[in-house]
């Protein structure tokens, strides 16, 4: 890394990210709704090939943050850097075009359509004015195979007949199919049983190992520690902890989520955190300009 002043390695992205610009960087992001300050000066790196878990108590600003990334809301101030370049995302469509796909809790699937129809919705293949079912089915099948989603009996069964984990898998496959580089998932394991949670967590790690950047919101710390490479803790709109998941244990994350500070976090984190954002940001920007 170029950043001489990054100080302690707490913020430095994990192995895959080193020597590379993180796919997505948030710099001093703030968002207010009238008098309500939902996000304050948030800095976050989301590197490719890793699972970044975004945790925080209710109202911490997790959803606001991902909505700012997914183009649903625009940040009041601050910068988004995509592959090191500053970008402004004005709509979900623009986010999609950049390569950002969001899978929300409601999954946005049509229960009455089958898996192929859902995955290809909005990007149907047409031949002589008619839908080319064979080609669409092959595409969908390939994507599911790449993600090793094998628990569905037939990809021609309606999504309404699938289990929760399978639905989540279909929603993710649909998101990935649009050549998404960053996949954002909002509480993907909420309301899932044990084996289905396992299934979805496997899918998440598989996405990362295929080179996607994955940003996951979760309440479930067991899941977080199982799947995440990096952790980001929000507390009342402020980022109070970012770093490799291995730097944290469950108690320290709970402390950060509920009080905004933790004495249990290794000295590298607890002490360094406040100092880091500014320094890293300027260093990173310097790097970017050099790069562009």
């Amino acid at each position: 890394m170029v950043t001489s002043n990054a100080g302690p390695g707490a913020i430095a992205p994990g192995p895959a990210g080193t020597g590379d610009v993180p796919l997505l960087q948030l710099r001093g992001l703030s968002k207010s709704f009238g008098p309500v300050q939902a996000l304050t000066d948030v800095n976050l790196d989301v590197p490719a090939g890793q699972v970044t878990a975004l945790v925080g108590d209710n109202g911490a600003g997790k959803s606001t943050l991902i909505k700012c990334i997914a183009g649903i809301w625009q940040p009041t101030s601050g910068q988004l850097l995509w592959n090191g370049r500053p970008v402004a995302i004005h709509s979900p469509r623009e986010a999609n075009q950049l390569g950002i796909a969001a899978v929300y809790q409601d999954l946005a699937l049509c229960d009455n359509l089958d898996i192929v129809q859902n995955m290809m919705l909005g990007r149907e293949k047409v031949k002589f004015g008619l839908l080319d079912e064979v080609s669409m089915e092959l595409t969908a099948k390939q994507t599911l195979q790449d993600l090793a989603v094998t628990t569905v009996r037939s990809i021609r069964q309606p999504v309404g007949s699938l289990s929760g984990g399978q639905r989540q898998s279909v929603a993710v496959a649909k998101a990935v199919m649009s050549d998404a580089q960053l996949v954002i998932m909002d509480e993907p394991t909420a309301a899932l049983g044990v084996s289905q949670t396992e299934q979805v967590l496997n899918l998440i790690t598989r996405l990362a190992s295929r080179g996607h950047a994955v940003l996951v919101i979760s309440h479930n710390l067991v899941d977080v520690f199982q799947a995440a490479d990096r952790l980001a803790v929000l507390y009342l709109g402020r980022m109070v902890g970012v770093g490799p998941a291995s730097d944290y244990d469950r108690q320290s994350v709970v402390d950060l989520m509920t009080t905004g500070a933790s004495t249990r976090v290794g000295s590298s984190n607890g002490g360094a955190e406040p100092a880091v954002p500014g320094g890293f940001s300027s260093g990173s920007e310097g790097f970017n300009y050099g790069n562009v």
Binding site: D114, V152, S161
Partner: protein, 443 residues
């Protein structure tokens, strides 16, 4: 292929199973499958087992309608032996034509979870315009009169759709207003037609061309009807077998050849019986309206199941928010669906007027719109959107037509007709609700 539950290998269509068996490992079924068996099973045995599972889980498809239809036909035949006579079946075809067209019209909007209460009077307005253009002293060409009628009904329904989309008012309210406005427009039209529509009736007796009248009253010649039947069956066979072959060629599951052949055979059998009966003495042959409906069903089915518009229609009806996020323009789909509803309504109006030989301001637009909803729902089109097929609406419309005809034959009059239709409609909706409950409980 290998997923059948450990029984002996199926011998019926072994070769087909092998042909389709090139796809990679299919893990064993984990969930109850409620899908079209065509796309899940590679062999006849598997096909039937998937089919039974599907019926049990509530996705019974066309089966209840067909069983219900057979039951109703048997009842009418037992009560009145002339019911299945050649001449009555010929009458039935004429009545079924416009009722089926109405059910098809309503299907487009029901699939979106909307409803068009004005389609009945819209049909009458269209037919009035067509008949007016043909009855004036210097009549317009028939094709122009028909196109004008259909254009008006399509435009009226499209405007209703636009109001629904722009003002975000439920279609129930907008088309209820349309119902009143169009019944008013109908009365006004007859005031304006002067001597043409004297007494509120425009009859086709003065038409220079008999084409409109012949749609229902005219028939194909005996030879022509057999040729048409052979051509339709052959086309259906070639297309479905070619499609299956293409799927297998790409390593996808296709219905077993035996099932396809069985379906074609059933279709051919129904066709042969129909053509034979309609050519018996007492009937003058296969009326043109049968061909008109067949063509429309073919076109509209392709539109719904094989085009982007059709796919988006189901998507919007299933989950409008998901469709919107996928980039589907909800307004465009809604307005188009209403326009198509108006178009089919216009066809229904012309078929109705052709059957009756006239169109009048005494049109029962309120009653007929209920037939259209009843027909579609009996045929398995869900009132809640997203579920149902055009072919189902045809079957459902036919059931309504059979009741319409049979009750009339029994001399029960309007009272019996209403009560019978109500009973069948209630049965169909109950079945729909039970099926819905069944399919959710299997999740």
């Amino acid at each position: 292929m290998a997923t059948s539950d450990g029984g002996p290998p199926d011998e019926v269509v072994g070769s087909v199973a092998v042909a389709g068996g090139s796809q990679p490992e299919e893990p064993p079924a984990e969930v109850v499958v409620a899908s079209a068996p065509e796309l899940l099973a590679g062999s006849l045995r598997e096909y039937t087992s998937v089919w039974f599972r599907r019926v049990r889980s509530g996705e019974s498809g066309a089966l209840p309608v067909i069983i219900g239809l057979i039951a109703i036909v048997i009842y009418f035949q037992v009560s009145q032996s002339t019911f299945l006579s050649a001449s009555n079946i010929s009458d039935l075809m004429g009545q079924a034509g416009w009722i089926i067209a109405l059910a098809m019209a309503q299907t487009f909007v029901l699939l979106l979870g909307e409803i068009d209460l004005s389609v009945g009077f819209n049909a009458a307005v269209g037919a009035t315009i067509t008949f007016w253009m043909l009855a004036v002293a210097h009549p317009f060409p028939v094709w122009l009169a028909i196109i004008a009628g259909l254009a008006v009904t399509s435009a009226i329904a499209a405007i209703e759709g636009l109001v629904i989309v722009w003002l975000k008012i439920p279609s129930f309210v907008v088309t209820l207003a349309g119902y009143l406005a169009l019944s008013g427009l109908l009365l006004w039209l007859y005031e304006e037609t002067g001597s043409v529509g004297l007494g509120g009736v425009i009859s086709d007796s003065g038409f220079k061309s008999s084409i409109v009248n012949d749609i229902v009253s005219g028939s194909l010649s005996r030879v022509a009807s057999w040729i048409v039947l052979v051509v339709i069956v052959a086309l259906a066979a070639v297309f479905s077998i070619m499609r299956d072959q293409r799927r297998r060629g790409h390593g996808l599951v296709a219905p077993p050849l035996s099932v396809t052949i069985l379906k074609i055979a059933v279709m051919a059998l129904v066709g042969v019986v129909l053509v034979f009966v309609l050519n018996l003495p007492g009937s003058s042959g296969v009326p043109w309206v049968v061909l008109v409906i067949l063509v429309l069903v073919g076109v509209m089915s392709v539109l719904l199941s094989r085009t982007k518009f059709g796919r988006y229609t189901y998507a919007v009806g299933g989950n409008a928010e998901a469709a919107r996020r996928a980039g589907v323009s909800l307004s465009r789909i809604r307005v188009t669906a209403f326009a198509l509803c108006g178009f089919m309504g216009g066809i229904a109006g012309i078929l109705y007027a052709s059957e009756l030989g006239s169109i009048s301001n005494n049109f029962q637009g309120g009653e007929y719109v209920l037939y259209s909803v009843a027909g579609a729902v009996i045929g398995g089109v869900s009132l809640f959107g997203g579920r149902g097929k055009m072919f189902g609406a045809v079957l459902g419309g036919f059931v309504v037509a059979v009741i319409y005809n049979g009750v009339d034959l029994l001399g029960l009059g309007a009272a019996g007709q209403y009560i019978w239709t109500a009973a069948v409609l209630l049965a169909a909706v109950t079945l729909d609700a039970l099926a819905r409950r069944g399919s959710t409980s299997t999740n």
